[in-house]
């Protein structure tokens, strides 16, 4: 208990801050901060597994998040039958061609010894495959995108409940990570960082511009939610009764019957958004807790000890007979899969998929700030980082406004400097993040909640 005092204290403060937002701003706001904090926490768990457990730098978090989001679309969006009729078969053939290309290349790699000829054969296979793909896919894509482009123009998804996508997203992201890991994990740390950063940009470019798959920058909206809709709730008998019971005291103060009805209606509308967000928060909390338990168990298992050994001294671990390459690949895939879950959760929460909004600042570097500020290697620390940094990211604007008003209180309202500063409030969050990161790295390089190693 005593050992965990700092964890408990830090989390209490964090929870207190969110509740404070509930009282000062609104409960709906507090809950949406909480939901996104939880999603960020899932991302930081993923990044922390890679960086904290194994010391791998993965700057491709944005790519996995977007793939998770894509999974949400492909699972839950209703299928567009006309599009499937128009070009579905051709696209399936294309998938088959890609698959057989990979098989042929693998075969060539196995059968032939390393030589120039082998490289030529592989290059020829790839070029021939690409030309074939192009010839088959180009007309198919055109006809798919031509079908009702204002509302669909893509193949659609499978029309399944969106919750499945959390698992599918994990598989998508894990699969991508497997490919990237095979290619790039041999690189030195900072090269790996750059390579993953660039590959994630490629992923985003594909999702943005392959309209037949993801509708690209036209966005996919109106994905089905796993929780009730506000409008439905407002008509439900039990929900109105619940709200009435909850606000009994204040409602009774209103004597006029009609006015009371009005007030109740207003309360029902307000509470419905809060209720929906509470449902989301519940779902997300469940995910975070499950992941936390699993990762904690893993961290203190023999496997976790091996990972830390590899992180701290690769050569020694290798000498002890641990397969470093294999373990690195495994942890790279696992961490990325968790980030993929977070990506699917995020699209589930928003109900829409906007490929244009995936930017490295928000989805890669911010997550890294969270992990480092919170405490890499310590799951509780990483989650706390997710909470604290996201909270600051959202609340930076009001804080900056307050500070600017405080420091320029001597100036007039129309003063050019003051007006300019107040106009640029949104950008103070970058400043806060940067300064925060630099301060933490300087004075508390292990993060707010540093890694604790249990000696057995």
């Amino acid at each position: 208990m005593r050992n965990n005092l700092d964890v408990i204290a830090a989390y209490s403060i964090m929870l207190g801050l969110i509740i404070l937002v509930g009282f000062l701003q609104s409960w709906s706001m507090a809950l949406s901060i909480l939901c996104l904090c939880l999603i960020s926490a899932v991302m930081t768990i993923g990044a922390n597994i890679q960086w904290g457990y194994a010391g791998l730098i993965n700057f491709g978090i944005m790519g996995y998040t977007a793939l998770g989001g894509l999974a949400a679309v492909l699972v839950s969006a209703p299928p567009v039958e006309d599009a499937w009729k128009a070009g579905g078969l051709d696209m399936l053939i294309c998938a088959f061609i890609i698959f057989s290309m990979i098989l042929i290349i693998r075969l060539v790699l196995q059968k032939f010894s390393k030589s120039k000829n082998r490289n030529y054969i592989i290059a020829a296979v790839i070029i021939a495959g690409l030309i074939l793909l192009r010839l088959i896919s180009a007309p198919a894509i055109e006809s798919i995108e031509a079908i009702n482009p204002a509302t669909t123009g893509f193949l659609g998804g499978m029309g399944l409940p969106i919750l499945f996508s959390w698992i599918v997203g994990a598989f998508f992201a894990g699969g991508l990570a497997y490919v990237i890991g095979k290619i790039a994990l041999g690189l030195r740390a900072d090269y790996l960082a750059i390579a993953t950063l660039l590959i994630s940009e490629i992923v985003i470019a594909v999702i943005k511009h392959e309209d037949w798959l993801s509708r690209g920058v036209k966005n996919v909206i109106g994905l089905k939610r796993p929780v009730p809709y506000e409008i439905d709730l407002q008509g439900k008998e039990w929900f109105i009764n619940l709200v009435q019971k909850f606000h009994q005291g204040s409602l009774n103060l209103i004597s006029d019957n009609l006015e009371r009805q009005q007030a109740l209606k207003q309360l029902v509308i307000e509470s419905s958004t809060v209720f929906v967000k509470l449902c989301f928060a519940g779902l997300f909390t469940a995910v975070v807790i499950i992941l936390l338990i699993v990762t904690q168990k893993a961290l203190y298992s023999p496997w976790g000890r091996m990972m830390r050994a590899i992180r701290d001294n690769e050569e020694a671990a290798n000498a002890m007979g641990k397969n470093v390459v294999k373990q690195h690949l495994l942890i790279f895939v696992l961490g990325s899969a968790i980030v993929g879950i977070a990506g699917a959760m995020m699209v589930t929460y928003d109900g829409l998929f906007t490929p244009g909004s995936y930017r490295p600042m928000r989805y890669t570097f911010l997550i890294w700030v969270m992990v480092i500020v919170g405490g890499s290697g310590n799951n509780f620390g990483a989650i706390l980082g997710g909470f604290a940094v996201w909270f600051l990211w959202i609340e930076a604007a009001p804080i900056a406004l307050f500070l600017i008003n405080f420091f320029t209180s001597g100036l007039e309202e129309t003063n050019a400097l003051k007006v300019h500063l107040i106009d640029s409030i949104p950008y103070f969050r970058f400043l806060m993040m940067g300064v925060g990161l630099l301060l933490i790295m300087r004075y508390r390089p292990k993060g707010i909640l540093p890694e604790k190693i249990k000696r057995v």
């Binding site: 390579a195 511009h209 700030v369």
Partner: protein, 336 residues
């Protein structure tokens, strides 16, 4: 005649734009490569340092314009660049003193320094956006074209026009001058030689009495100069937008690594490799073949290898391929 037309077409849409874009990338790649070689970390602030320098160049340009100073047919920004450089130098030196020197004396691992540079990236980005805002800005003035497409057509009687923007010529000239001075400096002067020695083998260099502080400071000076010039040229040629500059960090890194990171000359060529391959692979060759082939063989499609949306993806794919098959870069930089 058709052959000439085809050549001019390629010159106009491929060669000239790629050359100027490549020069802008090369300037960035050189300083990223230098920082990597001498300070030994991946400098993620690269794009934002360029936007910082460009921002001050723009501010000085506006100031000079308000005073009525201009260079006639040349853009006013050319006189503003030195002032932008001075501010940027002060900024990087301040940053080094407050942030980087601590980790350097502590001999932190390169990963740590890369993380720190992400911190400074956030800060620099915030400063730029707070001062000048996130909007698209054009600060070019003076004569826009050296040769206009129409004039060229009249002059030569060809169907295809060749338009050369003055910014493209300025970019090329400035790049040639700056890069030659830089390579002269690195190869001939004592400080330059000591920088190269320090980059090759830190311990030996220290042993032979090279002052590490001086080497580090010179590196930052060069970085600031190249960042401001490269950024300002890019801004003159296209336009200034902080987000684009941040994104430019990616092809710059690609150029530096493709050329062999830690090797300034490789990075210089890497810039052109990236620029040319981006444009070559995303250009639609239909018109080119229409000129060359007889009518019966005319192509139906656009003959575009990749849509222009994948411009960035091209350079990154090249980078991945290079990393796979020749991790030290085309021109042999530091071995991984």
């Amino acid at each position: 005649m058709d052959f000439l037309n085809a050549i001019i077409l390629l010159l106009n849409y491929l060669f000239v734009p790629a050359l100027s874009y490549g020069s802008q990338l090369a300037l960035g790649a050189i300083f990223v490569s230098l920082i990597y070689g001498i300070l030994r970390f991946a400098y993620f602030t690269a794009g934002d340092l360029m936007s910082f320098g460009t921002m001050f160049t723009i501010l000085f340009t506006w100031y000079f314009q308000s005073l009525g100073i201009n260079l006639g047919f040349l853009p006013t920004a050319l006189i503003a660049i030195p002032f932008g450089i001075i501010v940027t130098i002060l900024y990087v030196l301040l940053k080094d003193k407050l942030v980087f020197s601590y980790y350097r004396t502590k001999k932190s691992p390169p990963v740590m320094l890369a993380m720190v540079s992400i911190g400074t990236m956030f800060v620099t980005q915030a400063i730029v956006r707070i001062i000048i805002g996130p909007f698209d800005r054009r600060f070019f003035d003076g004569e826009k074209f050296i040769i206009r497409a129409n004039e060229f057509k009249e002059m030569t009687g060809l169907n295809e026009g060749l338009a050369i923007k003055s910014t493209q010529v300025i970019t090329l000239f400035v790049t040639i001058i700056v890069v030659s001075i830089l390579f002269w400096f690195l190869n001939k002067t004592k400080t330059g030689k000591s920088m190269r020695a320090y980059s090759d083998n830190e311990d030996l260099a220290l042993l032979s009495g090279i002052d590490p502080k001086k080497v580090v400071m010179t590196t930052w000076l060069i970085a600031a100069i190249l960042a401001t010039i490269g950024g300002a040229l890019y801004g003159l040629d296209k336009s200034f937008k902080p987000f684009t500059y941040f994104n430019n960090m990616l092809p710059i890194f690609a150029a530096a690594i493709v050329g062999g990171i830690g090797n300034p000359f490789g990075a210089f060529l890497g810039g052109y490799v990236i620029a040319f391959s981006e444009i070559l692979l995303t250009y639609a060759y239909k018109k080119f073949f229409v000129y060359l082939l007889p009518e019966s063989l005319e192509p139906d499609g656009l003959l575009q290898l990749l849509s222009t949306d994948y411009k960035f993806a091209v350079s990154f794919s090249i980078l991945v391929v290079v990393l796979l098959f020749r991790p030290s870069g085309i021109f042999k930089g530091k071995v991984l």
